[in-house]
Structures are given as structure tokens and as C-alpha cells.
Amino acid sequence: MTKRPNTKGPNRRPPIAIVAMAIIAVAVLSLPLVGLLQRTPWSSLGTTLGETATLEALRVSVVVSLMAAAVSVVLGLPLAWVLARLSFRGRALVRAIVLLPMVLPPVVGGIALFFALGRKGLVGRALHDWLGIDTLIGTTAGAVIAAAFVSMPFFVITAEAGLRQLDPRLESAASTLGAGRWTVLRRITLPLLAPSLAAGATLSWARALGEFGATITFAGNHPGRTRTLPLAIAQANEAGQPEAAIAMSVLLIGVSLLILIGLRHRWIAPRTPQQQSSSESSPS
């Protein structure tokens, strides 16, 4: 990354008050982690994590979160394109609905999913009658739907922001050089969007990995099918096995930190698109 020009002016000394508040903010966010790590039984960590139930929960978590991220990308990319490129009545409403899962308590999402997709729900009954799908509740597919419900907004807003920053004139330029729609998409749009898509997919995956409320409310807590790491942690904690809960929490923290460090600042707050370095003459 190129360094930004110095915009601080002659006074390079950072204001003490701002730095002090920033340090407090970091403390608020990191102290719980310190408390957890301080209680972590490091010597028995390997044994606890090696237990079959833990490994099973880890497997369910990986499968469910990856599938949810895949669903988010496949359905979210066209949605992001529609929100970024088409102007239509009710676009503000659609965007609000898309973002709703980010602000709703996940448990509300779980209840809503239950009444929509449950055996007696609006869609659930249709699924049963027409497709012979008995129920999604208690299945891994149900857990994936719950996770996708809460994680897709993260992909959609990131991809939409990327699309908005992409200069549509580049796509037009490609078409005037003989590129059909598919070629423009493959060689111009997607490569230019790649950083945003990667960031959005990773964020939605990370969100799905941490999902708890919607999953347990809608899909239930069934070992090997819907019991993901967060569910297993809660289960262990309530069952009076704090060591196991702490060990799995450390595992989850480690995985999440790796993802976020991998994303880095520039993926979460994408740079402005590269400016054409032409001395543009006035349009005519």
C-alpha cells in the first residue's frame, strides 16, 4: 500500500485526549479476552479439544459456516448487483430488509424462521407437500439456513459497496472493444470486484462461524447435525464443564482472529478505486 500524503499539518503530536479514549476502547474490547485466556487450562487444552464431542462440533461448525458463506455469495451477489446498479421503487425498503438480520437479535430471526419454514409454517408446509421435505428443523440444512440468514447481509453490503466503487464506464469501454456481456463480467467486473467479494465472503463466513441464537432457536441443538461450536460451548458451560467451554472458546477466538488478521484493514474498508492517471480534459 502506498503511503498517504501527510495531512496532519505541522503539528505531528497526536492529541492526548483522543489517544487516551482509544486506549480505553481497546481495553473494553480486549479485557474479556484477557480474562478468558487467564482462566484457560493450557496444560489440558489439547486433551479437551481432542474429545469426540468437540471435534464433532468443530466439524459441524466448519460445514455449516462454509455452506452458509456459499449461500450468501451465490444469492447475495445478484442481490448486491441489483441494489447497486438498478434504481427502482422500494429499493430503500429492500435494502432495509436485507440489513435487518444485522440488527435483529438472532433469536428473533430463529423464531421467524421457525414460523416460516417449520412444519406448520407458511413455506414449511409447501416444502412438505410439494417436495416431500419433512422438516428442516434439526437438520444441518436448517442450521445452514439459520447461519445464512444472519451472515448474508455482511456479504451483500460489502459486495454492493465494491460494485458502487467500480466505474461502470470501464465495463462500457470493454464492450466498445468487442467484449460481450459474459466477457465483460469475467474479465473486467469480477476481477475488479475480487477484493470486495473476498472480503464480503470472509466476513459472512466469520459471522456464520459465530452464529448461535438463530441456529439454536430454529435448527435446534443436535450433536453431529446442528450443534456447532458456539452451541457446544453454551451446552458445556451450562452443564458445569467450564474447562471445556473455555477450551472451545479459545479455539473459536483463535480461528476468528486468524480470519480478521487475514482480512486486514484494506479489505474491511476498501480503498477508493484506482484513479485513472489521465489529465482529463473537460467533457464535451
Binding site: 469501454a173 464492450s175 468487442g178
Partner: protein
């Protein structure tokens, strides 16, 4: 590959109405003030802006006819467009940018790359092939953009201010390149020299309409609007330089202040010439006897067109016309200072 277009199109509140006929292999220059609709017209030809009424025929193929529901998208028209904003693909290297068109036309990677390298060579940027667009200067980006459009080797090449940010020397080279391309060319320009040297026909656009059409010479000798007069009010003569002497077609030799060799273009303002009845004895290096071809009064001055030995325009006051007794066919003496001449390589 000819162009016939009856254009009625709109972008937002802005409407353009224009007619364009260009024979195969010709070069049409579109000039006009900013906001006149020049880019819109070229984008209509490219297929980027749909027609509201009218039709566009490119190389005998009807590509636009809204009444019949015909609109052929840009990628299936026999065109390539170089936009004034260049719009190089930031994620591709310079050579991959230029190879983009040939690849879309179905060329395999290696021949496409070879063709791209040829075109980069022609615009003098062969050694920048591996760079990214962000590393280029404005002039370099413009030449890459031009090479990228030209590398498509289209039947019709649309150029939107393709030479605007080039320095004088590069501009001459690129102008030669454009003159040698056998595609039908439509170019938007603000440069009177470019117009006169490259264009077979000139379209003057103002406020979304074409206000004048003709050869550059026709339009220059009889500009219909003040803007056109302002753009084209420049005398441009071709000749062969040997030192500070330039031998013009028509037999006249001019003395210039800049020594050059070979084919050159000499330009000077119509205000730089003084007229008199008798042979002048002044410091002006250049004096010649000329025939008045036409006298054209304008609002606050008179445009005098001199014919033989070399065509040029001169501005004088209405009083001067009376005092000198100028009339069509009469003879007078013209004087022109060497330092008023601009000489550049042809």
C-alpha cells in the same frame, strides 16, 4: 466501411439531433464547444446510448432503428472507441489492455499479445508493456488508450479527443499514425491543426445540433457561428522548410524565426497580416502581392480572404477596406512578421 446516421438521442435533459454521412476510409472531425453533444453523438455510433428516433447504418449494417426495435450492442458493431477518459483497465498490464480487443475478437493469447506489442510500438510505448495503468503519465495513458482501440483493427474507429494531452512532438507522430489508419475515422477534437490535416469533412456541433458541415477549408473560409470562427481563425499552410525559409505550395517562400528542415506546417493568426496598396517597406520579413478572393464583413471587423499565390485570411477594420479600396479581384500587398509564424513538423 461507411457511416450513415440520422441521430435523435437524449441523455437526461439533453437532446442531440444530428446527421452524419461518412464514406468508407474517410476521416470526419467533430468540433464544437464543451457540452455541444459531440461525445453523445460518438457514443450513439458506438451503441452506448440508444437512439430515440432515426437510424444508424454502419458498413451497410443497420445497427440502430428504434422504430423497428433494432439496437445492436457495442460489442457486435464494427467499431472501436477510444474515450477521452482513456478508461484503461486498472487490473491489467499495459500490453494486456491493448491485447484486450484482439482477444475479444477471438485471437489466441499469443497472437493477440504480438499485435498489442506492434501497436504499442507504433505509439512509441513498447518499453512500457509490463507497467500498470496507474504507473503511466497522462500522455502515456492516452497513447495506450489509442493503441488499445486501434489494436481492434476495426472498420470504424471512434476517437474522443485522443490527442488532447499529448505534447507537440508526440502529437505529430500520433497524427501521422491516425492519418495512415485505413479505418473510417470519426474524431472529436479541439485542435484546428488536427482538423485541417486529418479531416476530410468537418462537423460543427453546437447545443446538440450540427450547425455546419463541409471540408475543413470550406468551413474555415466561411464559419457560420462565432465559435467556429474562433476555433478555425488560423491560417495554416503546408510547405518545405530549409533553415528559416519555408517554400509554400503556390510558389511563395516565407521567412520564419525557427530553423527547420523538411515538410512543415506554418500557422499564423489572421490578425498578424497587414495589408497595403503599395509595396510596404517595413521590418516584416515577409511581403507578397496577393489577389483578394472575397470580402466578408463581420460584426466589428472584415474578413478578407486572399487567393493567389497562397490562400489566407486577414482581419481588417471596415475603415481599412474603404481606405485601401479593397474589392473582390483587386490586388494588394500583404506583410507578415517572421516572429508571428508558428512552424511545426508536418
Amino acid at each position: 466501411m461507411s457511416i450513415q446516421a440520422q441521430v435523435h438521442a437524449a441523455t437526461g435533459d439533453f437532446t442531440i439531433r444530428a446527421q452524419l454521412d461518412a464514406p468508407a476510409g474517410s476521416c470526419t472531425a467533430i468540433v464544437g464547444p464543451n457540452g455541444a453533444g459531440k461525445t453523445t453523438l460518438v457514443h450513439v455510433l458506438a451503441g452506448l446510448i440508444p437512439l430515440q428516433r432515426g437510424n444508424v447504418v454502419l458498413a451497410g449494417q443497420l445497427v440502430d432503428h428504434p422504430a423497428q426495435g433494432i439496437h445492436v450492442p457495442p460489442d457486435r458493431r464494427p467499431i472501436a472507441l477510444h474515450s477521452q477518459h482513456n478508461l484503461l483497465f486498472p487490473h491489467l498490464s499495459v500490453v494486456d489492455n491493448v491485447a484486450f480487443g484482439p482477444r475479444c475478437a477471438g485471437l489466441a493469447a499469443r497472437p493477440a499479445r504480438r499485435r498489442a506489442e506492434e501497436w504499442l510500438n507504433k505509439v512509441g510505448l513498447a518499453d512500457l508493456a509490463g507497467l500498470r495503468p496507474a504507473q503511466l503519465s497522462g500522455g502515456q495513458a492516452q497513447r495506450v488508450g489509442l493503441a488499445r482501440a486501434a489494436a481492434c483493427e476495426p472498420a470504424i474507429l471512434l476517437l474522443d479527443e485522443s490527442l488532447a494531452s499529448l505534447d507537440a512532438e508526440t502529437r505529430t507522430d500520433v497524427r501521422h499514425l491516425l492519418a495512415d489508419i485505413d479505418a473510417t475515422r470519426v474524431l472529436i477534437t479541439h485542435d484546428p491543426v488536427e482538423t485541417r490535416v486529418l479531416a476530410d469533412q468537418l462537423l460543427v456541433m453546437e447545443r446538440g445540433e450540427i450547425v455546419q458541415t463541409g471540408t475543413p477549408e470550406e468551413v474555415a473560409s466561411d464559419p457560420r457561428t462565432p465559435w467556429t470562427a474562433g476555433l478555425l481563425d488560423i491560417n495554416l499552410l503546408a510547405g518545405i522548410a530549409a533553415g528559416t525559409e519555408v517554400a509554400l505550395e503556390g510558389g511563395l517562400a516565407l521567412t520564419t524565426a525557427t530553423p527547420m528542415t523538411g515538410p512543415v506546417l506554418v500557422t499564423f493568426s489572421p490578425a498578424a497580416v497587414t495589408l497595403s496598396t503599395a509595396e510596404p517597406h517595413t521590418s516584416a520579413r515577409n511581403t507578397w502581392q496577393a489577389e483578394v478572393a472575397r470580402i466578408q464583413p463581420e460584426s466589428d471587423r472584415v474578413r478578407v480572404l486572399l487567393g493567389r499565390p497562397v490562400p489566407c485570411q486577414v482581419w481588417v477594420t471596415p475603415q481599412a477596406v474603404g481606405e485601401l479600396g479593397l474589392s473582390t479581384g483587386s490586388r494588394c500587398w500583404a506583410a507578415l512578421k517572421a516572429t508571428e509564424l508558428t512552424v511545426r513538423e508536418a
